[in-house]
């Protein structure tokens, strides 16, 4: 693996809510190498989006707080940056695309105005240069007749085209790192296929690194090199995608893979994970997955398992793979 662009070490994010404290991200550590695509997978509320927001320093404080840990982006500690320094980083070095383009884009400005604004602020382009660059970006992300569409408003685009606009905006200042937070979740499957192809193609062509956040294991199977699986605020497994799909080690990952209906063969019954996700306000002691785990042991109820390497490059947090 090449040099790490992004390193997370023991990142813990807590929200102080009126009802009590909620730890949304709990001791998460992973790194992403230059040019690598990394998929962070988990179900609703597992902490994957908060992890992404912590990297961008977009966790609202208060009520949120990055309680401990380090986030190094190209060797620089993001958590020590001032707001002004963060603004210089966002967009230019790290960009983000979101799930809902309709709410992430501004409905009262034309597509040109919102992308050009970023270009002029971040890169100091002139009005004319910015306009040309916007048109170039729109054609890069595959929007037909960009000369005409550049002055359209967001509502005049279809869902897939809006996601293209958002991607054009994210790529506008040539960032080296892209965070995509469920970018295809709201899209139909045929549109999803084109957007995935576009994102992975762009990352490849521009030599960028990607953090891809999704609940869809099918999506990460095809768009990422390595995968991290989150459950109830913890990173529970991490490894090369072929390794994770062929030899999953954490009972949660195994359960998740067994829960997915397959296209190629019709299993009469799925083997779902029993129960439901724990209440994050009152999480269980020890391993958070133990109440749903068929192989839970005494130690699982007492101690949080350490995240440790169980095969080269393959990590898991499970007492089944503990020493002794």
């Amino acid at each position: 693996m090449g040099e790490a662009v992004l390193e997370l070490e023991d990142v813990t994010v807590r929200f102080r809510l009126r009802r009590g404290d909620l730890t949304a991200v709990n001791g998460v550590s992973f790194s992403i190498a230059r040019g690598e695509t990394f998929g962070l997978v988990g179900e609703s509320g597992s902490g994957k989006s908060v992890t992404a927001r912590a990297i961008m320093r977009l966790v609202p404080e208060p009520p949120g707080e990055i309680e401990r840990g380090r986030i190094l982006f190209e060797g620089i500690d993001v958590l020590g940056k001032s707001d002004a320094e963060m603004r210089a980083l966002r967009g230019r070095r790290i960009a983000m695309v979101f799930q809902e383009p309709m709410s992430a884009l501004n409905p009262v400005f034309t597509v040109h105005d919102q992308i050009a604004d970023a270009l002029r602020t971040n890169l100091g382009l002139s009005r004319q240069q910015a306009r040309e660059r916007v048109i170039e970006l729109l054609s890069l992300v595959g929007i037909p007749s960009p000369h005409k569409r550049v002055d359209s408003y967001v509502h005049e685009f279809s869902g897939g085209m809006r996601q293209r606009v958002m991607l054009a905006m994210a790529l506008s200042c040539n960032p080296g790192f892209l965070i995509a937070d469920e970018p295809t979740t709201a899209l139909d499957v045929t549109i999803q296929a084109t957007i995935l192809e576009l994102i992975t193609g762009m990352i490849d062509r521009l030599g960028m690194s990607l953090l891809f956040i999704t609940h869809n294991l099918g999506v990460v199977a095809h768009s990422c090199d390595r995968i991290g699986v989150m459950y109830a605020s913890h990173l529970v497994e991490l490894g090369n995608k072929h390794e994770i799909f062929a030899r999953p080690q954490h009972p949660y990952t195994i359960g998740l893979l067994n829960s997915i209906p397959r296209l190629d063969a019709q299993a009469r019954y799925l083997t779902p994970i029993k129960g439901s996700v724990c209440n994050m306000m009152e999480p269980p002691t020890g391993c958070k997955f133990h109440p749903r785990c068929a192989q839970a042991m005494d130690v699982c109820r007492r101690e949080v398992p350490k995240f440790r390497e169980i095969a080269p490059g393959h990590m898991a947090a499970c007492h089944l793979h503990g020493p002794g």
Partner: protein, 332 residues
């Protein structure tokens, strides 16, 4: 609740079912004398479901799947066509007969957060349909039936006096399913009943649908946009595209040898949870066609990789290919 015997035969038959919405536009366009447009949400579809069978209806947003569900339950009135329930014309039913038909057809919706009344307890939610259809009289009888329903869907007695907000999404969907079962229906229509759920919970609910079908001989019309879910749950499948059924047949046949270019495209676009499978790709050009004043001819015109001159002129009818398969494509 009684277990049904499962006699064969068609429980429901739909012929030429059509729903057009007239779009009048805003006052300015009307003053400007612009003509009203027609949105052909469902445009002449035929299908049937045998007793005890699951028909999976699959398609992308806006293809008319949910409108079909609402037409079949007569929650909205069709523009044309026929819906026959056990051979009787549902569309000709009197109000009283329709009420009885509603007991035979029940719906489970996508979002269990908006389909359950937040101010009512589970006891109320599950017993009210029984009251309305005169299936239970005394409180004790109702409570007993509600308890049995809860048990059937994997909930228990401690849940009976709780409110919907006290449940997780998966549990709420169990309540919605119990409500559908409360009147002992024959046909259950699921309109994207698992799409709002996380994958581990989705698997639980899919298994529940299967168990209940085996126990009570239920007939399902299962609507979903997720092809893997449709593959998993369906005996037969109908694929919709912009108001038309383009292909229908046994699930295994459709998934193993799709014939219509749209079905092929849908299947090729699914990202399978297996990195050794081919990556998802789009085999069609452009984006979904509009159902507003669609041109004559095949709805896939302009997107199809195998387009013929005739495709733009004449809409291909669903042609029988034997083995229960029907495909609407000029190429076959």
């Amino acid at each position: 609740m009684t277990a049904h015997a499962a006699p064969s035969g068609r429980l429901i038959e739909v012929e030429g079912l059509t729903k057009h919405f007239t779009l009048h536009g805003d006052i300015y366009s009307r003053l400007a004398g612009e003509k009203a447009q027609t949105l052909k949400a469902v445009d002449g579809i035929d299908f049937h479901i045998h007793r005890g069978e699951t028909l999976g209806l699959v398609g992308e947003s806006g293809c008319g799947k949910s409108t079909t569900a609402r037409l079949v339950t007569r929650l909205i009135e069709p523009t044309g066509g026929a819906v026959k329930l056990k051979g009787e014309d549902l569309l000709a039913f009197s109000a009283a007969r329709l009420k009885r038909a509603r007991k035979e057809i029940q719906l489970v919706f996508q979002d269990p957060y908006s389909s359950l009344n937040p101010r009512k307890t589970v006891m109320h939610i599950l017993s009210r349909p029984m009251e309305l259809h005169g299936l239970a009289r005394s409180w004790a009888e109702k409570r007993e039936k509600v308890l049995e329903l809860l048990h059937r869907v994997g909930l228990n007695v401690e849940h009976i006096d709780r409110y919907p907000h006290e449940f997780s999404g998966g549990q709420r969907q169990r309540i919605a399913i119990a409500r559908a079962l409360s009147v002992d229906p024959e046909l259950v229509i699921g309109d994207e009943p698992v799409s709002a759920l996380d994958v581990s919970i989705q698997a639980q609910i899919l298994n529940l649908f299967r168990d209940l079908q085996a126990q009570f001989g239920l007939t399902y019309l299962f609507i979903a946009h997720d092809l893997s879910v449709i593959r998993h749950i369906s005996d037969r499948v109908a694929v919709m595209y912009v108001g038309k059924i383009v292909e229908t047949g046994p699930a295994a046949a459709i998934f193993e040898t799709p014939l219509h270019p749209y079905t092929k495209a849908l299947l090729a676009a699914v990202p399978e949870a297996d990195p050794t499978r081919p990556p998802p790709r789009l085999t069609l050009k452009g984006e979904v066609s509009t159902p507003i004043d669609p041109p004559p001819g095949c709805r896939l015109c302009g997107r199809c990789p195998r387009e013929l001159p005739v495709c733009a002129e004449i809409a291909p009818p669903l042609a029988d290919l034997g083995g229960g398969r029907q495909v609407a494509c000029h190429n076959l």
